[in-house]
């Protein structure tokens, strides 16, 4: 399928962003409910979702704040959860680095798991996409998700005291991330990288939040590159 115009690229992004609503809505609701129950004001709960827009780190921060952790530790743990996005930024740079500053800043603000993953998969499958089409596609995906994230945080916060926070809803996160990663297992190199990521992350689970994951990710990426070059050499 060829993306020919910027407008059609935007709408392709919107369409590809729609399935993510399934995971974004319950999590936004949950953040709103938990934020208010933890003692944040409506303005503070909303500021988290509007300014930070990073579900996992928002939950991590909230959890540590409930434990009255030192502010420095809250920030370190929550930002460590987001460090993977520096890798997303670097992966997007070859595709979007030529865009005007304000567009790159907007992409930076909206550079979260779903928008990154949908976009990078699209760019790799369609190398002929133009720069404006790539930016439009990214914004199409992101602008389906981010307003819903904020609106449903608000609805969750309004429900706040009335809805009991059910811990089981949190398991939708691993289900959603596994569903996202499975179609990306395109080669033995990808499978090997995923396997190493799991093994190292589990082995280092005792380290402070986020740090074991970063080490696992680096090991997994190196594994992917090594296995890929083996496969290339094995080809006649």
């Amino acid at each position: 399928m060829t993306v020919t115009t910027t407008k059609s690229a935007y709408w392709a992004g919107v369409r590809d962003g729609l399935p993510f609503i399934v995971m974004v809505v319950p999590f936004a609701l949950l953040f709103g409910v938990v934020g208010i129950e933890a003692g944040l004001s409506m303005a503070q709960t909303m500021s988290f979702s509007v300014l930070v827009i990073a579900g996992a780190s928002q939950f991590a921060a909230l959890q540590l704040m409930l434990e009255n952790a030192a502010i420095g530790f809250v920030l370190l743990a929550a930002l460590a959860v987001n460090l993977r996005m520096a890798m997303y930024s670097a992966a997007l740079a070859p595709h979007l680095g030529g865009a005007p500053f304000w567009q790159r800043a907007l992409v930076g603000y909206l550079n979260f798991d779903q928008s990154y993953m949908a976009s990078i998969a699209k760019y790799e499958d369609n190398p002929q996409m133009t720069l404006p089409a790539k930016v439009a596609y990214f914004l199409g995906v992101a602008l389906v998700i981010s307003p819903l994230w904020c609106v449903f945080t608000y609805i969750g916060a309004r429900l706040g005291a009335t809805v009991p926070a059910d811990i089981e809803i949190a398991f939708i996160l691993p289900i959603a991330f596994l569903s996202m990663v499975a179609p990306m297992l395109k080669s033995l190199a990808h499978v090997a990288a995923a396997f190493v990521s799991i093994i190292v992350a589990i082995s280092l689970a005792g380290l402070p939040a986020g740090s074991g994951l970063l080490i696992a990710a680096v090991c997994a990426m190196l594994t992917g590159v090594v296995v890929e070059s083996w496969m290339e050499r094995a080809k006649p």
Binding site: L92, L96, F112, L173, L178, M180, V196, A217
Partner: protein, 110 residues
């Protein structure tokens, strides 16, 4: 929660600025074509390198089960992974995983 209002706003403010700095980093500083080919090659593996490691502890030691492994969590995770892999569609994996995980809850079996 024992923080003053200004401490809470400080946490939100630094998280907002810090998260933006992380997300904008390479997009803002480097621009196109300045990344070493080996690094670029590594970065193509970022999703499959980061997400499985993020998910594995949540599946293996689910907090809702007191941090003990359960067949239920494992089955739901396997269903999501297997169906999404087979169909190559994110949404079918999510539905399969949710059906296995939340189906018994909704039917009152667990």
């Amino acid at each position: 929660m024992n923080y003053t209002q200004s401490e809470i706003w400080l946490i939100i403010g630094i998280m907002a600025v810090g998260t933006f700095a992380i997300r904008f980093s390479f997009l803002g500083l480097i621009g196109a074509g300045a990344i070493h080919p080996l690094i670029e090659r590594m970065l193509r593996f970022t999703p499959v390198a980061v997400l499985p490691g993020m998910v594995a502890p949540l599946v293996l030691w689910p907090s809702s089960a007191g941090g003990e492994p359960t067949l239920w969590h494992f089955m739901a995770a396997a269903a999501a992974l297997g169906v999404a892999y087979k169909t190559r569609k994110v949404v079918w994996g999510m539905l399969a995983g949710c059906a296995i995980f939340y189906g018994p809850l909704i039917m009152g079996l667990l």
